[in-house]
């Protein structure tokens, strides 16, 4: 009995296609991404129970002790893994965290807990292929207690308004409000009217002893009144002004020296590549735009990403401004 001619043809096609795919796959392996583990220079100093959780759920990406599963080293998966590890280490590296200033160490640790409790970390893709890597509620409580214990001391115990009074007096004398403020590198404009906008939130940040007032422009206030904030409409600008909390000698921590103002400007077309928001931060009384490259935008989006289902906004606005 002879094999039909078209069977032979299909067998040939499959044979050659399989060969090509196999060759291509092998060729990819020549270009597989190799992840190096640089020296551990300043590892986090934390109690064993905390470190054990970090090692189990975070260290694969956020340390210089990356341990890969066999499938992580196969291209093209290895490329994605290498990209994730590189980005993760840049954001937070437990093997080098001790090299950061103390204030920055606090900031990244609080941010890490935030990312975990909002479900953004470990990454869902990582959790899928590494079962058991998710942080359990009990483990999260251990991390929260540890990180809370690292918060800076209560500023209201001191009497420390001199610096902020001086900064304010100098600013009034210099008539600095007439100065032109530059756009960010990404082209997001500063909006000087923010100081006249209405308060939609206020946060006492105990992780870094700052107080932050969140203000909305008229479009934002209208959107709040009309319950249209997910997504916020085009034209919305949300500003967040930040001051160091300074003790006034009476047990209060007051909005002291000015740190920065940040603005999220909604323009779904202009800022399409940055999730529809223009991200800007201006530092100090001189309002110097922060960031020399697009890194700031990425840092902003990374931090706000757990709130993507709330249009990337941390603030739950108060209502009643109209």
């Amino acid at each position: 009995m002879s094999v039909p001619t078209h069977w032979t043809r299909w067998t040939n096609v499959i044979f050659w296609l399989s060969g090509i795919v196999a060759m291509a796959f092998l060729a990819l392996q020549l270009k597989t991404a190799r992840i190096q583990n640089p020296p551990i220079t300043a590892e986090i100093q934390a109690p064993p129970e905390v470190k054990s959780i970090l090692r189990h759920s975070c260290y694969s990406c956020h340390s210089n002790e990356t341990k890969l599963a066999w499938f992580d080293e196969i291209a093209p998966i290895s490329w994605m893994v290498a990209h994730d590890v590189q980005r993760a280490r840049k954001h937070l590296n437990f093997s080098e965290i001790g090299n950061l200033p103390i204030a920055d160490q606090h900031l990244v640790l609080f941010d890490a807990v935030n990312q975990i409790q909002m479900g953004a970390m470990p990454l869902s893709t990582y959790r899928r292929v590494h079962p058991g890597s998710a942080v359990t509620p009990e483990q999260l409580e251990i991390l929260r207690a540890y990180v809370a214990s690292q918060a800076p001391p209560d500023p209201s115990a001191s009497n420390d308004l001199a610096t902020s009074d001086r900064q304010r007096a100098l600013w009034i004398e210099s008539n600095a409000s007439k100065r032109r403020v530059e756009d960010t590198v990404g082209g997001v404009p500063f909006n000087p009217d923010y100081k006249h906008w209405k308060q939609i939130g206020i946060t006492d940040r105990r992780d870094n002893n700052t107080v932050r007032i969140v203000l909305g422009n008229d479009v934002a206030i209208k959107a709040i009144a009309e319950n249209r904030i997910n997504p916020w409409p085009d034209g919305t600008v949300i500003a967040k002004a930040t001051w160091h909390e300074r003790g006034d000698g009476t047990g209060l921590a007051r909005a002291g020296d000015f740190v920065q103002v940040e603005m999220m400007t909604r323009d779904s077309r202009k800022y399409r590549s940055t999730v529809g928001w223009g991200w800007g931060r201006w530092l100090g009384p001189d309002l110097k735009p922060d960031g020399k490259t697009a890194d700031l935008r990425n840092a902003c989006i990374d931090c706000h990403n757990p709130l993507r289902n709330h249009d990337y906004i941390f603030t739950t606005p108060m209502r009643g401004q109209q």
Binding site: M118, S156, Y194, T203, R205, N227, L287, T316, R319
Partner: protein, 168 residues
Amino acid sequence: MRHIVRKSFMLAGICLLGASGCSGIHHQGSNNFNDAAALSGSLPYNPLQWSVVTSAVSRSDATVYTVFGNGEAVGFARSSSEGNYPVGSIVSLVTWTQRPSPRWFGGMIPGAIRSVEFASVLSGDDHRPIYLYEEYQGSPLKVVTSQRQTIPAGRLAYLLAQRGALMP
């Protein structure tokens, strides 16, 4: 004028309740808003419509306040270190209890209103300023103190000592 504002404020409160009850159209959940911090009741003015003067936190009481001002008050508060608020100024100090932010570990956000205070600088009969202090507490907010003073003292003096936090 005060009567109209009071009515508008109550109307705003009713609209707020209405809005929270029909939030399904745009899938806008009420957990998007901090309604715990809402001002409800009968106030002479709505300080949330005004600009911010400054703010402070009491960690021991777990409260936070924002000082708001009408146009006259804010203009003075931001440009002066000495002197007195001009006639026509109204300064309002709104105090909230604090609660942990559900969206930022380490952040405390406003919870329920503790009190709303007003210090008004009025023109007296002899063209010298006269001062009115009012305090509102409770839920809904009700007036608990209302007094006129010719020389500011106590909380009235405290409100009128507030200066604008730097907002460049």
